[in-house]
Symmetry: C2
Subunit: 410 residues, 2 copies
């Protein structure tokens, strides 16, 4: 019998190719998505550079090319608890892969409505999933997408471990006590804060109800297609480049494709962790197939394959077609320069062979950014989020924003 998997947020950038990868891999996949992301696209007047099909057309195409059926349920995991509970009860899934959160840091900082929506949506979605699994007494493995961003980017020369940090505490009895603790987080946006809070939900339900949880602290995902999404034009994955959801590399790629200077925030000295979407889907399958034992603490794996400084990324992309690089003020409250050393030993040990930026960048430039360049809409490149009040008072000018500042969302 095929194993049931529920992919929450399965219409999204990571969720869609993951659903196809798991379906192809022999799992019986059900997608849960409230299509909120498509509504936010409309609200922002932004659209994917690639022309993504409706969920109906996506699933029809997948049936045609693979012979497999993926079921779709339009459920809001944060607001429609009863429907979520009923689906879990019906399917008793082997795993729930949970992508269903508002995931743009700039969007989460736009204003009161977006801050409150991000907290309410993300916390209640995660908590509903855990509470339902506990109440139904299911042995479902929860695989959640967290972010490298929870660690903060204060960069102090220590390697970032996989979720847990070994520390020593001096007792007043002059004894040194050893402890292994959840890495103390330092989130830089409301979005990142919700991911830190999610960690406490997982910790509690793993301890109190023995729910098996894997939390994947993912780097910035780049690349668009996977072997499965390439099988038919209607399966194409989304490519975001707007000021809220576009991650730094995508924005450089479209800027280069349309002949706009590549806009780098501040000194571009921010170091970030990256992973190709092809590796994301593989990692998720590896995580599903290597669950923690019942009663174990949450397994945390860093899901990233390389780190780069933003200015080096800009240079790399610019070198493919001779684009200019422009330095602009940074709308974010973050360190101008940081180092970042991250352990990803856990996925490497499970056999992951990373796709490097050098290998994948040309495909991305030619097959995505240049091929769909005529769909580019310059109005959406600017970010409207103001991180703090001082910035509101004028440190970042509206003009600078309209000039197309890069929001390295992750």
């Amino acid at each position: 019998m095929e194993k049931n998997i529920i992919v929450i947020g399965g219409d999204g950038f990571c969720g869609w190719p993951t659903s196809l990868h798991l379906s192809r891999g022999g799992y019986n996949v059900t997608i849960v998505d409230n299509l909120s992301r498509r509504r936010i696209d409309e609200e922002l007047g932004a659209k994917s550079l690639t022309p993504i099909a409706s969920m109906e057309d996506r699933l029809t195409a997948w049936k045609e090319v693979s012979g497999n059926t993926i079921r779709f349920e339009n459920i809001d995991a944060s607001q429609q608890f009863d429907a979520l509970h009923a689906l879990l009860e019906e399917l008793k899934p082997e795993a729930v892969v949970h992508f269903g959160e508002q995931r743009a840091a700039p969007y989460s900082m736009r204003g009161l409505t977006e801050k409150r929506y991000t907290v309410d949506n993300n916390i209640n979605a995660t908590h509903n999933i855990l509470a339902a699994i506990a109440a139904l007494d299911l042995d479902t493995h929860v695989v959640h997408l967290g972010t490298m961003g929870v660690y903060g980017y204060d960069g102090d020369g220590l390697e970032i471990p996989e979720g847990y940090q070994k520390v020593m505490v001096a007792g007043d009895d002059n004894v040194i006590y050893q402890r292994e603790i959840l890495y103390p987080t330092n989130p830089g946006s409301v979005y990142h804060m919700t991911k830190s809070m999610d960690q406490l939900l997982f910790q509690f339900y793993a301890k109190n109800d023995q729910i098996r949880v894997t939390d994947l602290h993912q780097g910035i995902v780049w690349g668009t297609q996977t072997p499965e999404t390439k099988l038919d034009d209607r399966l194409i994955n989304r490519f975001d480049y707007d000021g809220d959801y576009g991650t730094v590399l995508n924005r450089f790629l479209v800027q280069a494709a349309v002949g706009h200077p590549l806009t780098v925030h501040g000194t571009g000295g921010q170091t970030r962790a990256f992973i190709h979407i092809r590796d994301t889907v593989r990692c998720i399958r590896l995580a599903i197939e290597n669950p923690p034992a019942k009663g174990d603490r949450v397994v945390i794996r860093n899901q990233m394959t390389e780190t780069h400084r933003v200015r080096d990324l800009a240079k790399l992309v610019a070198s493919t077609n001779g684009a200019q690089v422009a330095m602009v003020d940074n709308p974010r409250k973050e360190a101008a320069e940081n180092d970042l050393r991250v352990s990803n030993a856990s996925f490497i040990a499970l056999g992951l062979k990373p796709t490097t930026l050098e290998e994948g960048l040309l495909e991305e430039t030619v097959e995505i950014a240049e091929r769909y360049a005529e769909r580019f809409d310059s109005a959406t490149v600017a970010a409207a989020s103001i991180w703090t009040k001082e910035q509101h008072a004028g440190v970042v000018t509206k003009e600078a924003l309209i000039a197309g500042q890069v929001q390295p969302a992750a």
Copy 2:
């Protein structure tokens, strides 16, 4: 001009006497409360041992005895954001004292509805307050009631510091790095988990928006009256002894008053931190008057004055009238025995003179437990919460619960 203070949850056990204390102290107090706690009393069929008056009668009585007006707004801080925002904008308060959360650990573990309500109510209430203050650009000091319970009770011989822990981390370069981190929490119920999550909300808004926040990690509050609530019968404070909201000492007091054996969970070796309600209201005023500077990290103060083992408490209460002590199974998932050493240096330095249990216990027995013993309802003493599935399967019997197990809620 009088300084405005908003007390959220000002109809509750701690919030009501705090409101009176601040009003008497010269502050212009506005209470915000959605009266959810009174509704939960009805839902549980539980009521305060003391006959508490309606909010209207309370405020009329206060006007009569003190000459001061306290304003009341029936607003749900978690669901009625616009009303909360408008009130903050109107009053531009010096401080918001935030008691407005669902605070019973057993209630938060009753079932799905209560778990989900506790998370949704507590997280959104706290986040709404912070997000509104940030958006309105107010210099309001947020004084929040957290709990000692977030520290967990694993008891390893180290003194619990005031919120922040100094640790050392070994770098792979053989250098030992020193860090001061938020104490790694280990919450034991959904309620305690929300308080841990609140800490991350405070950390973020203090850092990103320079909101001044004091988080008070309070022990179990005992005692009923304060000098202000004693001024008129209509001002009397609530005394909870039901299985959900009744804290351990109150339950011993009523059991002793009605001649029931004092039921101790497990070995009674759990050590907990305590504070008298008179000291709670003083601490809150001290906290308001000693705010962090703008831009400072969150100030965390441990608001407790003594620690006791549960079985020692039982013996102490029993000795006042010769009641029996009965040991019963523990419905909670917690260590059977733990030590607890807690620093409360910060309030002692601000001049707090603690009311000890030895001093206050007799008053509590005579003026509250014995005086109102005829209002005692034995049906509400049992807790209906089952912490985990194994317990559901029979470790704790319904009979044991009805026999009146003590829930040391905090």
